[in-house]
Point group: C2
């Protein structure tokens, strides 16, 4: 009844912003991401036990907040219902990177928790089922089940049974891809993604047009991933980031995650591409001010150097594309 | 052949961003503004003379740049064609406020130039004709012909003959309105409005949806102006500003005029309104980082005090609603 799993964060190039079902976490559009390497990893041990009187959750060695525990318990309820069992669980979770800084820790957390909890309670799930389960904890966690390039299918069914992620390309195929991450602000964000999405879908007059335009970018990125063509993908990645942050700004009240450093980075990446006359790097921003600059091995150093000369950047990390969820022999407790 | 006119800047609450005809400056949508008082004024003397060998332009006592002269000459060509005359002109223009800082100096400049040049060359125009003429210099100049609240009609005709501004309410009716202006950056902007508009209309997938949504806000603001109802107008003003800056961000490359101080001001205005439980102030940003906070006499001081405690603001001005274009007896040269 005790299992440990590891999962890595993923950084979307076509974003998830807005749900068609809040409870089941069914998104309005497909999204595509690359799973990162183990620099952005969550390790999670789950143990179900008849002896426990309530769920227990430690994150990074500390007792979790009531809010975090409530979210985990709600997720465990889904697992318990699937297994037809009523035991509580003890969970220990360790992140290799700061929580809620826009580095998508909820994706790796719930992917690892889905894998560990389902196995610990004794249910066997295939990858699609595991992806659909992880989705119930955090939408983007559905993508962290797989390594490499991944597409999360929005599906059309009300019960969410066609809503899970599928692999698009292995991480070996994209081994030269780099995500140069500029941490511009590691404090926790003010508006959660869940709240921000609700505000946008309810109030932005431009949001329906985003849903139409995202289809075109999905097609381009899907093709580029298949063809292993970074240059084809790069403009669509930047447009997609701009488009998502545009509908956030169009919301009432406006949902603003970017800061002045983010805008300076956007400018620098455009200048870099202009200097080559072709896209060698592509910025993307999640629900936070940290920049993810996708580029290739060849330009990794040049991108890093540009960032090193800028003010307002706390830390620079370079991630490769990594693998999907895996089980470990050694437990955290 | 020598005439002097004065015109004030106007600050739009429903914005002009995108043209259906570049040459004639015909916009894609109607816009609504308030004309400001004489703190944001341009005085312009125009003299046509057979003796001149080319047009001459001084701005704020200095010889204008070739680019500025070219734009003025192109405008004078329109006036000369209307009059059927071929004389060159000497123009002196003085602004009471910094050029190209997002304070809409082109609006007051071309409104004053249209009034002075047309009279100097001997043609008599009614207000609609004068508005249509000013439009040829700078779109928003069409609105500065009138005082108070003004709507610029986009029209539908290819020749632009139905494209001019009309008054919505006198400045006496809105005498309690205030525009608390926070100058966050008085340097000239990088991307001109003309270029920025082109980029947005050509590349933003969200732009067509903006044009649909702006119709609803136009109706709300028109009704609010008629009813003299600030609270009705305020949310639409903020939504409109967010919406325009959203399609700017959605452009390729993104057109970004706001800075971190602008975003902080947005936050503060929302907090202020939340504290009252109703909108007592409304921010709006043109193609620049300066904030225009529309409020009423009653809250003017409170809004100013909030801005005084913020970093990144170079200057605070409080404008009232002002009058339209007028002729002066005294010339600048």
């Amino acid at each position: 009844m005790k299992t440990t799993a590891a999962a890595n964060a993923n950084i979307a190039v076509i974003k998830y912003w807005g749900r068609r079902n809040e409870e089941l976490i069914l998104p309005n559009n497909n999204s595509i991401s690359f799973t990162m390497d183990s620099q952005l990893e969550t390790l999670t041990t789950v143990e179900f036990s008849e002896k426990l009187k309530r769920d227990e959750l430690d994150i990074d060695g500390k007792t979790a907040t009531e809010k975090e525990l409530k979210r985990a318990s709600k997720f465990l309820d889904v697992v318990r219902k699937m297994a037809g069992k009523k035991m509580f669980a003890k969970i220990d979770s360790i992140n290799t990177f700061p929580k809620a800084a826009g580095l998508a820790s909820s994706a790796s957390s719930f992917a690892a928790m889905a894998a560990a909890a389902s196995k610990a309670i004794g249910i066997r799930l295939n990858e699609k089922e595991l992806s659909a389960l992880a989705r119930r904890g955090s939408g983007s966690a559905s993508r962290s089940i797989y390594g490499g390039a991944v597409e999360w299918l929005a599906g059309v069914k009300d019960d969410g049974s066609d809503c899970y992620a599928v692999p698009l390309a292995s991480y070996e195929k994209w081994k030269d891809l780099r995500n140069v991450i500029a941490i511009t602000n590691s404090h926790e964000k003010k508006v959660s993604s869940t709240d921000g999405m609700k505000i946008t879908t309810r109030t932005s007059p431009l949001y329906p047009a985003r849903l139409s335009s995202v289809e075109k970018r999905l097609a381009v990125v899907r093709e580029a991933i298949k063809e292993n063509d970074f240059e084809m993908m790069a403009p669509a990645i930047m447009q997609e980031s701009n488009n998502m942050h545009a509908v956030m700004l169009d919301s009432t009240p406006p949902v603003i995650y970017l800061n002045s450093t983010s805008f300076k980075i956007i400018e620098k990446v455009i200048e870099l591409n202009d200097s080559y006359g072709r896209p060698v790097a592509a910025y993307t921003f999640d629900a936070g001010p940290n920049a993810h600059i996708y580029t290739t091995k060849k330009y990794e150093k040049e991108v890093s150097e540009i960032l090193e000369h800028m003010n307002g950047i706390e830390k620079i990390m370079v991630c490769k594309v990594g693998e999907g969820v895996r089980y470990l022999e050694k437990h955290l407790f």
